[in-house]
């Protein structure tokens, strides 16, 4: 109790008092609590964070349950209703009826020109955008973590060379490279004159984005592991004869877990938006895959006569990004009180 290690002195007394509910006026019996429990109780008290967590969970649930939810409405995202039923669109291809043709069958209305159902497209679109965003985040985080920790731990020439390489990649106009190299990578798998299957397209997007997106994570983790490497417990493990692999996995990684988690929560919304951006520019997913970026692309051409179409994906994406950023902030605050800004 008297040896002040950094973590316990800062947080324990307050938490013990609040946990026992005695207002802290008498010394409570010491409760053993794991760091995870402490973080959880801190997170629960952050009201914004909790609300945002629910919103994020709702988005994830919608993505998983897309067929069920679209089934409730009873429409499919792949059917151009407007072409089948001439009563839905007028002669200019604009939906008939208020707010882009909203009614009981098409809850959010239908798209101009072809008359796809917006609600089902939106619901299925979460799947594509969130799924691809998640894949990119996972792949680029793993790349960044492995490279960063290796750089920090191994040091020397490896660190120097990889560092220069990541500087090079960071110095590039990344957006331009995304759009230029996605078709190039696609061409590696599928010849230009043949139709590209959806999963190959997804793979190409993930490869390009992950390849150009690992540097921020690796830099952060390199710095962290450089400083952790000098700590006593690592030295102790070394003297005890632990292998490099053991030191990295058992000693370094657990101490980097917080940083990694925070980094992931920062990356994910950015990557979801990046995927939508690629599709918006016409180099990501293509019709008929339901995708938010494609909805934007279509809606932007039609904003003058049908603004409601644009509002649905726009508001959804904004809400998701805001909620996820706030959720990420809450997670960071809960895990590490020192980083509160």
């Amino acid at each position: 109790m008297t040896t002040p290690t950094e973590d316990t002195t800062e947080t324990d007394p307050v938490l013990v008092a609040s946990a026992t509910g005695d207002g802290g006026d008498k010394p409570a019996a010491l409760l053993g609590r794991t760091p995870r429990q402490i973080a959880w109780s801190r997170f629960k008290r952050n009201r914004t964070g909790v609300v945002c967590a629910f919103i994020v969970i709702a988005f994830i649930l919608i993505a998983i349950l897309a067929p069920v939810i679209a089934g409730l409405e009873g429409q499919s995202p792949y059917i151009p209703y407007g072409l089948r039923d001439p009563n839905l669109l007028d002669d200019f291809g604009v939906p008939i009826g208020a707010n882009g043709g909203m009614n009981a069958t098409h809850w959010f209305g239908i798209t101009p020109t072809s008359g796809f159902d917006i609600f089902s497209k939106l619901v299925y679109g979460i799947r594509t955008s969130l799924g691809i965003g998640l894949l990119i985040t996972i792949v680029s985080s793993i790349l960044g973590i492995v490279i960063g920790v290796a750089q920090g731990y191994l040091g020397g020439r490896f660190d120097y060379l990889v560092g220069r390489f990541s500087d090079l990649l960071l110095g590039l106009p990344s957006q331009l490279f995304y759009i230029a190299f996605t078709p190039v990578v696609l061409n590696m798998f599928v010849p230009a004159d043949r139709a590209t299957p959806v999963h190959i397209r997804v793979m190409a997007i993930v490869i390009v984005q992950a390849f150009l997106g690992w540097m921020a994570t690796s830099r952060l983790l390199r710095g962290m592991s450089l400083s952790l490497r000098e700590r006593e417990y690592i030295e102790a493990a070394k003297i005890a004869g632990a292998s490099s692999w053991r030191i990295i996995t058992k000693e370094l990684m657990p101490n980097l877990a917080t940083t990694m988690l925070v980094q992931v929560t920062l990356l994910l919304p950015a990557m979801v938006a990046a995927e939508a951006g690629l599709s918006f520019l016409g180099v990501g997913m293509v019709e008929p895959t339901p995708d938010w970026g494609l909805m934007f692309q279509d809606a932007v051409h039609n904003y003058q006569n049908d603004l409601t179409y644009l509002l649905f994906p726009g508001l959804s994406l904004t809400i998701f990004t805001v909620a996820f950023s706030l959720f990420g902030d809450a997670v960071r605050d809960a895990l590490d009180p020192k980083t509160i800004r």
């Binding site: 090079l168 904004t318 706030l326």
Partner: protein, 326 residues
């Protein structure tokens, strides 16, 4: 300082050469046929053969690369397509023109977009940050943070059409956004670009306001500020002359990097508003599989970003005497 700059420039040069080589081989050694891509409609075998000779596609790939690379400095001949003068980035078959000419034609739009947008996001971002620091913990602070967060989370392709629908279609305050050369019609240029400038700047606000806020708070707690206050200097004077000045050095670094990024083409802004700049050109090139045009835009943008980074480093050295020694 000079030595440092020379070293940086040499490093950048190596990077540029590497980059040109890597992107060239990535683009041209693929199992695609650039001649077929270039020869789109009404393609006859004779025309295809001619394009192939013009593009030197019959030569081995390393020789093609040498042609391209030397062409950047001394120009290159494209058979019947004619001679391409010194900074030769190749020939774009889809539009029957030299890549360099197209870059030169589209660059002014990107330049004007970048300058105006950067001016707005720097002013608004720093302003928001100052307000947040000034009213720390109060409502204005929270409002500034919230504005920044929402701004950062909105997408240009959502906000852009919304703004256009409001100001152009419904209120008729502004004309349809487009780039009009400012030498022709300065006012038209301003009204045509004000929406793209503002919308583009929104995503940058939060970064600046957050940084400025924390830097200002940090500066205000420093000893020299307290000394200045103790001397009886006015609050305003301390804020603007001492605190802001100290907070600006890191901001200039971020600003330089962002400026480099927007100079190399704010792709989504340009596509959303139909501003025919470099980013727009890049998207057209990708969608038409115009390899030389893509390569040209990529190289041009990368070089301009690298140049910017060097300028930023130099400016940092001038602004902050502490880093000058290194």
């Amino acid at each position: 300082m000079l030595r440092f700059l020379i070293r940086r420039a040499l490093g950048a040069l190596v990077i540029i050469v590497l980059l040109i080589a890597l992107t060239y081989f990535a683009f041209f050694s693929l199992p695609t046929d650039p001649a077929r891509l270039a020869c789109s409609k009404g393609c006859t075998p004779e025309l295809l053969a001619q394009i192939r000779t013009n593009m030197h596609l019959n030569l081995p790939i390393y020789q093609q690369f040498w042609n391209y690379f030397s062409g950047l400095f001394v120009g290159q001949d494209f058979g019947t397509a004619g001679h391409c003068a010194a900074p030769c980035f190749g020939y774009s078959y889809n539009t029957q023109s030299f890549v360099w000419d197209r870059i030169v034609a589209n660059y002014p739009a990107t330049f004007v977009l970048a300058i105006g947008g950067a001016a707005i996001f720097l002013t608004v971002g720093v302003g928001l940050g100052m307000i947040a620091a000034w009213k720390q913990g109060k409502l204005a602070d929270k409002a500034a943070t919230a504005i920044g967060l929402v701004g950062q989370s909105t997408q240009i392709y959502f906000l852009g059409p919304l703004a256009m629908a409001l100001f152009v279609v419904n209120l008729h305050w502004l004309p349809q956004p487009a780039y009009i050369p400012w030498t022709q019609d300065p006012w038209g240029c301003f009204t045509g670009m004000i929406l793209p400038w503002t919308v583009m700047s929104v995503i940058f606000w939060s970064n600046y306001s957050r940084q400025v806020r924390s830097l200002m708070l940090e500066q205000l707690s420093e000893d020299h500020i307290r000394a200045a206050r103790a001397k009886g200097m006015s609050n305003t004077y301390v804020w603007w002359r001492y605190a802001l000045r100290g907070a600006m050095a890191p901001i200039i670094t971020i600003f330089g990097l962002d400026l480099g990024a927007v100079f190399s083409g704010a792709i989504i802004t340009e596509v959303t508003f139909g501003v025919h700049g470099l980013g727009y050109l890049a998207v057209i090139a990708v969608n038409q599989a115009d390899l030389y045009l893509e390569l040209g835009v990529l190289i041009f943008s990368s070089v301009s970003i690298l140049l910017f980074n060097i300028i930023v480093d130099a400016a940092y050295g001038l602004l902050d005497p502490r880093v000058r020694i290194g």
